[in-house]
């Protein structure tokens, strides 16, 4: 017979006491594992919520960006780059710039790597008399967009006016009875009507567009332009846009100035950007809310778990004291027949060790189940993230398997000491 036979028989004999002790360890380990599991579930759920929100925000931002692109074109949300010497007051008075700069500027800009502008539209504008039709019009020479070579190519916002053609504003084609395909002479040169615009209610209604090179020729301004329209400037966000563009353009073309075209559009762009920011802020708010919720749960666990563990340790200690009392005569006779103190100690402490080990093993799974259940009750839509595999923490499992038996042995230490210090003569005399 070995000493563990006595150990095993004693555990079976006092199974209720052993079960209650094991249950206490299960509760202690279970509460710890449950709390950790709940926090892990919280983290997983937080990640899921934030991912969904971020995805939603990205979608929203993509829609806003697309809307912005359209709005920028429609509402002429553009910037105008003018020669530095251009008097802005004159520009507003006359309705077109009166100073000139080299056409080469636009190429320099396109090659510069500027990041806030996607398209450049060089133009030469002048108010002229249309002698053949006896009208005063704004003549715009445009060669179509010069794409920014450092940005992803996109469909041009404005189609160029083909050579030999003319595009007419609403007021002109209506009053002159011109239609697409008609031939018309301007400053002695013949043009085919390429497009007739709908009414815009602006000076565009009395503007004619021809190819830039032909305008330069007609106006005797070879190689010169007087404005560059910078299109789709919203790409980097509306906030502080103008200053950013100005700063960048100033560095590339020191001989120019930049003015804003379409304040309303910028306001709208900013409003849209704000919606985007709001969506991002909402993600941030959710993150803060989840963090706060986690802190609260952490605090609750930090208070409750140690309390439960201490209560369980006391419970194990009381059960151990009771066990020592029940076994008083047995310990007395064991000492009388020659059992040494360390053998008695082994019988007691091994029992607590087994109790701790078994309780830790069962407690881990009980805690996992409890944490998962609580998570399902406290959180919405945990589908797919609350699998046992995801929640199982091997480190915690190992730690519980080591710490729980040690703590259980410590809880039973004092009663064990009482048992081995018991005077067998007292017991046998009493009996």
């Amino acid at each position: 017979m070995k000493i563990w036979h006595i150990l095993a028989r004693e555990i079976l004999h006092r199974w209720l006491s052993f079960t209650l002790g094991t249950f206490a360890v299960i509760v202690a380990v279970g509460s710890l594992t449950g709390a950790v599991t709940l926090l892990k579930l919280h983290d997983l759920q937080t990640q899921k919520i934030l991912n969904e929100k971020e995805e939603e925000t990205e979608k929203k931002m993509a829609v806003l960006k697309d809307e912005m692109r359209k709005a920028t074109l429609k509402l002429k949300f553009n910037l105008l780059i003018l020669p530095k010497q251009q008097n802005i007051r004159d520009l507003h008075m006359k309705g077109y710039p009166s100073e000139y700069m080299p056409e080469e500027y636009v190429t320099r800009l396109a090659n510069s790597g500027i990041i806030v502008v996607r398209h450049f539209l060089p133009s030469l504008q002048q108010r002229i008399k249309w002698p053949e039709k006896n009208r005063t019009i704004t003549l715009v020479g445009a060669r179509g967009e010069v794409p920014n070579l450092h940005k992803d190519p996109r469909k041009p916002l404005v189609q160029p006016v083909p050579l030999g053609t003319i595009v007419l504003g609403y007021g002109l084609h209506q009053s002159l009875g011109l239609e697409v395909g008609d031939k018309v002479k301007l400053l002695g040169k013949e043009f085919t009507v390429h497009k007739c615009y709908e009414e815009r209610g602006s000076k565009d209604d009395f503007t004619a567009w021809i190819h830039l090179s032909q305008a330069q020729e007609l106006l005797d301004k070879e190689g010169l332009i007087n404005a560059i329209l910078a299109l789709e400037c919203i790409c980097q966000g509306a906030e502080g846009l103008l200053e950013k563009v100005r700063e960048e353009i100033r560095q590339i073309l020191p001989g120019t100035q930049v003015i804003e075209m379409g304040t309303k559009a910028i306001a709208r762009a900013e409003a849209r950007a704000k919606v985007g920011q709001e969506a991002k802020a909402s993600v941030e708010r959710e993150r803060r809310h989840r963090t706060q919720m986690r802190s609260e749960r952490e605090f609750f666990a930090a208070v409750l778990v140690p309390l439960v563990m201490v209560a369980c340790a006391v419970w194990v200690g009381l059960l151990a004291f009771n066990n020592v009392r029940d076994r008083k005569a047995e310990i007395g006779i064991q000492r009388a027949i020659g059992f040494r103190a360390r053998q008695i100690m082994f019988l007691f402490l091994s029992k607590f060790f087994i109790m701790g080990l078994l309780g830790a093993f069962l407690g881990i799974f009980a805690g996992l189940g409890l944490g998962r259940w609580l998570g399902l009750v406290l959180e919405d839509d945990m589908e797919g993230i609350a699998t046992a595999g995801e929640l199982f923490i091997p480190g915690l499992f190992l730690l519980a398997l080591i710490i729980a038996p040690v703590l259980t042995v410590i809880s039973g230490w004092l009663p064990t000491m009482v048992a081995i210090r018991q005077d067998p003569a007292d017991v046998l005399r009493e009996e």
């Binding site: 006595i6 027949i337 020659g338 103190a341 046998l428 005399r429």
Partner: protein, 218 residues
């Protein structure tokens, strides 16, 4: 084998000091069955526990096989008990969750020997416990319990058996059986120190002493 020289044991009680043993001198040698008779509370159990190395005397000298057990460390004293002494009590003091077989073998955990199992088997057969070897104490009769306790006491072939009212809970038949086994053990060279209040039990002894208020009277 066991020798007491003017051994005194004083307890501190609520009503002052009480001398449970008052200058007791006695000796028990191999082949001797000594019965100490006396009424309850006269100090018989104290005498037995002192002889067993479980209760340090307040004064006087006590030796077991020529050695004072109380000069030894508790661990060494446990070994000495396991090797040399067998205890038999009125209440049997069997371990309730161990079988008869395991109870008999329990002393082998304190003093392991290679032939423990064989010896246990011999004792089980000798005391007529074969059919009860797998039973726990609650499942056997009082006579069988005392025979189990006696077998346990004899497992390590002790030099002396200390018996405290071994027949106190037994009917006459079982009492005679147990006393018969003790006599047989003495006849084989062992020695027994038995304390009892029953004068009839003392008739099985080779020598008997009376005890009264902690003192021995021939």
């Amino acid at each position: 084998m066991v020798e007491f020289k003017n051994v005194t044991k004083i307890y501190d009680g609520p009503e002052g000091k009480v001398a449970a043993l008052d200058k007791v001198s006695l000796s028990v040698q191999p082949g001797e069955f000594l019965a100490v008779c006396g009424p309850s509370g006269c100090g018989k159990t104290t005498l037995l526990l002192t002889a067993g190395g479980l209760l340090r005397p307040s004064d006087g000298q006590m030796s077991l096989d020529g050695q004072d057990p109380y000069v030894l460390s508790p661990e060494m004293r446990s070994r000495l008990r396991a090797r040399m002494i067998g205890f038999v009590f009125q209440q049997f003091h069997l371990i309730p969750y161990l079988t008869v077989w395991q109870n008999i073998l329990a002393p082998s955990l304190a003093f392991p020997t290679k032939e423990a199992d064989q010896r246990a088997q011999e004792l089980v057969s000798r005391f007529g416990l074969d059919e009860r070897a797998g039973h726990v104490p609650a499942q056997i009769s009082t006579g069988q319990r005392q025979r189990t306790a006696l077998a346990r006491a004899l497992l390590n072939k002790p030099k002396i058996i200390l018996a405290d009212e071994p027949t106190g809970n037994l009917d006459e038949g079982n009492a005679n059986t147990v006393l018969g086994y003790l006599s047989q053990y003495v006849a084989e060279g062992g020695c027994v120190l038995l304390v009892t209040h029953d004068v009839r039990t003392a008739t099985h002894a080779t020598r008997s002493l009376q005890m009264s208020r902690g003192k021995l009277v021939e």
